[in-house]
């Protein structure tokens, strides 16, 4: 039996085990570092994903708007072609109207030629009210009373309102005051202020531009006051009128620009409400600017009564044909979509605010509102616009006050801030110290959790225990094995203590990563609060402009906006 135990194989196994443990050790260290890195990457990825999601949503919205805009541009062409195709022949009749009057003024065309032209138009445009009107006009010029009577009777049958206004203007042009008054009286007798046809705008134009002088001017003014008094006695009229004006003023709110408070928008959960409130406050400036521009500058007055009447006749024959209304409605909505850069909702809101323009008849106060806010849609002149605004000032004031009160009520009292995982609120950006302390507190807690999460891995304990056990086992053999066993135990213990020491390094890394994040959060907080302070300052300043609108509107009075033509100044007080 040999005396010496061969420990070389155990030696080699221990060496192998030691190497393996070193590999495990280095792997565990690497994994630990990777865990910290993965945590940081995860936070970064989360932020980037949110950014990407936001960008994607913005891209989809922009793409949708682009398509809507392109579609609207194409459709407008189609609708206009359809109008041209279906009603193009009316255009010839319309142009002929002032052509006949001007040719007669100049005495350059033979009466027979005019008569022939109007007869042809009568044949080529069946059912159109203007054709028999022109026949009557040419017969009048030719002094053919029988034909004139027949033409007028047929025109009245086709469209009494327009025919009466047409001949009122023709009589005014010919300076036949008595006939003018009789045609106007006829027109007024047929009107119901609760459901009035749109061409009443021509009468308003005549009044505001000083075309109707003397008795006609007084009659028109009185009739308007009677209509409005009658309307005001209707239950709910005033509320309706205020709502109508509120809708008109509300769509004047500008949209938020991309450069408006970008950090606040990114980090406030209630950013949509904050931006809405900002735009609502900015509306005061837009409303004030609109009314100031309207009442600034000289009006362009046609050089003569003839020119003024011709302009009104053009408007009467061109702007108020009910058959064209469905197409004009479609055309207008498409125009608004184009103007709003494809934003269909904004276009629909504007369209809804002016919807009454596109109705065959509406109440007279609505016509005043439309003339004031969308004169181009009705062919109303700037003088009419001024008159309509000044006559509506009390309703506008009430609507403006209601809107301002609504916006003040809806103004968020706090910005609800979110920066990374922290959230808090600020009213005006003045509580930076308090919020910074809250962030510090949150990050202290986070750091504590992260540091506590760094602990000894099971591998370190396994190495230590395995080293002690195997070392003990070897030592039990006695002799030189004792020394080997001790070396093994010492190696395992050294490894264990090295791992314990490495924990501090890992904790420092976690601490530093979170401190860096805390620094970034504080920088964002500073920027957000600075923007919030600017935001509150701007809102307060824009909100204060509400009073300017009030002062401006209170200074208006309607009689001063009825134009006095030079030839009327003597006759009209």
């Amino acid at each position: 039996m040999p005396d010496i135990i061969d420990l070389s194989s155990i030696h080699s196994h221990i060496n192998q085990l030691e190497r393996n443990l070193e590999v495990v050790n280095s792997n565990v260290g690497a994994v630990s570092e990777q865990v910290v890195a993965v945590y940081q990457q995860q936070e970064l990825t989360k932020d980037r994903l949110e950014e990407l999601h936001q960008e994607f949503r913005e891209f989809v919205a922009a793409d949708r708007k682009d398509k809507q805009k392109q579609f609207a541009a194409t459709e407008i062409v189609r609708v206009r072609q359809e109008i041209e195709q279906k009603f193009g022949h009316h255009e010839i009749v319309r142009r002929t109207t002032t052509g006949i009057l001007q040719a007669t003024d100049l005495q350059m065309i033979r009466q027979n030629t005019i008569h022939t032209v109007t007869e042809q138009l009568m044949v080529t445009t069946p059912n159109y009210w203007l054709a028999p009107t022109l026949v009557a006009l040419s017969a009048w010029i030719k002094d053919d009373r029988v034909l004139a009577d027949r033409g007028v009777a047929e025109a009245i049958r086709r469209d009494d309102n327009k025919t009466s206004l047409f001949f009122a203007l023709v009589c005014r042009r010919a300076r036949r005051s008595e006939a003018l008054t009789r045609w106007l009286s006829r027109y007024f007798q047929m009107q119901n202020p609760m459901a009035i046809d749109r061409e009443v705008v021509v009468m308003l134009d005549g009044l505001a531009n000083g075309v109707f002088g003397g008795g006609a001017l007084v009659t028109c003014s009185n009739v308007i006051e009677e209509w409005l008094t009658e309307l005001e006695e209707q239950a709910g009229f005033l509320d309706d009128q205020r709502k109508r004006w509120a809708a008109q003023l509300d769509v004047m709110a500008p949209k938020p620009a991309d450069r408006d408070y970008p950090t606040l928008r990114k980090h406030a959960r209630n950013a949509p409400q904050l931006m809405k409130a900002l735009c609502a406050a900015r509306r005061n400036r837009a409303v004030h600017g609109f009314f100031t521009n309207l009442f600034t500058g000289e009006l362009i007055v046609p050089p003569s009564i003839e020119a003024a009447c011709d302009s009104l006749l053009d408007s009467l024959v061109a702007n108020f044909d009910d058959e064209e209304l469905p197409f004009r409605r479609e055309e207008r909505l498409l125009e608004l979509i184009k103007e709003e850069d494809g934003d269909k909702d904004a276009a629909k809101a504007r369209f809804a605010a002016e919807a009454e323009i596109h109705q065959p008849s509406t109440n007279f106060a609505a016509v005043l509102t439309s003339s004031a806010m969308n004169p181009e849609q009705l062919g109303a002149t700037r003088a009419t616009q001024r008159y309509a605004v000044s006559r509506s000032r009390e309703w506008i004031l009430a609507a403006h006050n209601d809107l301002v009160a609504r916006d003040r009520m809806e103004m968020p009292r706090h910005a609800e801030l979110t920066i990374a995982a922290w959230s808090g609120t600020s009213a005006d950006g003045s509580n930076e110290r308090e919020l910074a302390a809250a962030i510090r507190q949150q990050y202290d807690a986070k750091i504590e959790t992260a540091v506590n999460a760094v602990s000894l891995s099971p591998a370190a304990w396994i190495v230590l225990i395995a080293g002690i056990l195997i070392g003990g086992l070897i030592m039990s053999a006695g002799g030189t094995a004792i020394a080997i066993g001790l070396v093994l135990i010492a190696a395992a213990a050294a490894f264990f203590f090295w791992k314990v020491k490495d924990l501090e390094r890992q904790r420092d890394e976690a601490r530093q990563a979170l401190e860096k994040e805390h620094g970034q959060a504080l920088a964002i907080l500073k920027a957000v609060l600075a923007e919030l302070a600017d935001y509150r300052r701007e809102v307060a300043s824009e909100d204060a402009r509400a009073a300017d609108v009030t002062v401006l509107l209170e200074s208006l009075s309607s009689p001063q906006f009825v134009l006095q033509r030079p030839e009327q100044r003597v006759s009209v007080a």
Binding site: A235, G236, L238
Partner: protein
């Protein structure tokens, strides 16, 4: 559209602001109530409302009774259910108080700190009262009315 010559008269009866008992019995239509409540408030009424901040009503039942009478005489033609149920206005007591309410039904005047919630019906008028542009905010069941120092009224549907 031609005017209809025959037909029912759609005109509303004229508004009256008399306080005589006989006329009080005539109920106004909702539109008339709305119109009446939009009219400018009288200087006497404004003055009485603005005295709320003096705090006398909190202890003094007679002062509160005077306030209720001022409201009744401001809206004599309105039924009790059509009148305001309370008032919210900016508190002049200074921080931490922000606004105070006068709950007419309970006869309570109470001052509220910035952080303390008010009863839900009154909370609707808090932002407007705190804004400072209005003398006080009248609270109704379905609307709130912001009254400026000159008596002008803005209406908001709650």
């Amino acid at each position: 559209m031609p005017r209809s010559i025959l037909g029912t008269d759609t005109r509303s009866p004229a508004l009256t602001v008399s306080a005589s008992p006989a006329q009080r019995e005539t109920r106004l239509s909702p539109a008339q109530v709305s119109h009446r409540l939009r009219q400018k408030r009288s200087p006497a009424y404004l003055d009485r409302m603005q005295r709320l901040d003096a705090g006398t009503h909190q202890q003094n039942a007679a002062a509160l009774q005077e306030l209720l009478e001022a409201i009744a005489s401001e809206f004599p033609e309105l039924g009790i259910d059509e009148r305001l149920i309370g008032v919210v206005s900016k508190c002049r007591l200074g921080p931490p108080y922000e606004v105070h309410i006068c709950d007419l039904a309970g006869g309570i005047v109470e001052h509220f700190e910035r952080w303390r919630s008010m009863p839900p019906l009154f909370e609707r008028g808090r932002s407007l009262a705190a804004h400072g542009a209005y003398a006080f905010i009248e609270i109704y069941v379905s609307t709130i009315r912001a009254v400026t120092a000159d008596g002008a009224v803005s209406v908001l549907n709650a």
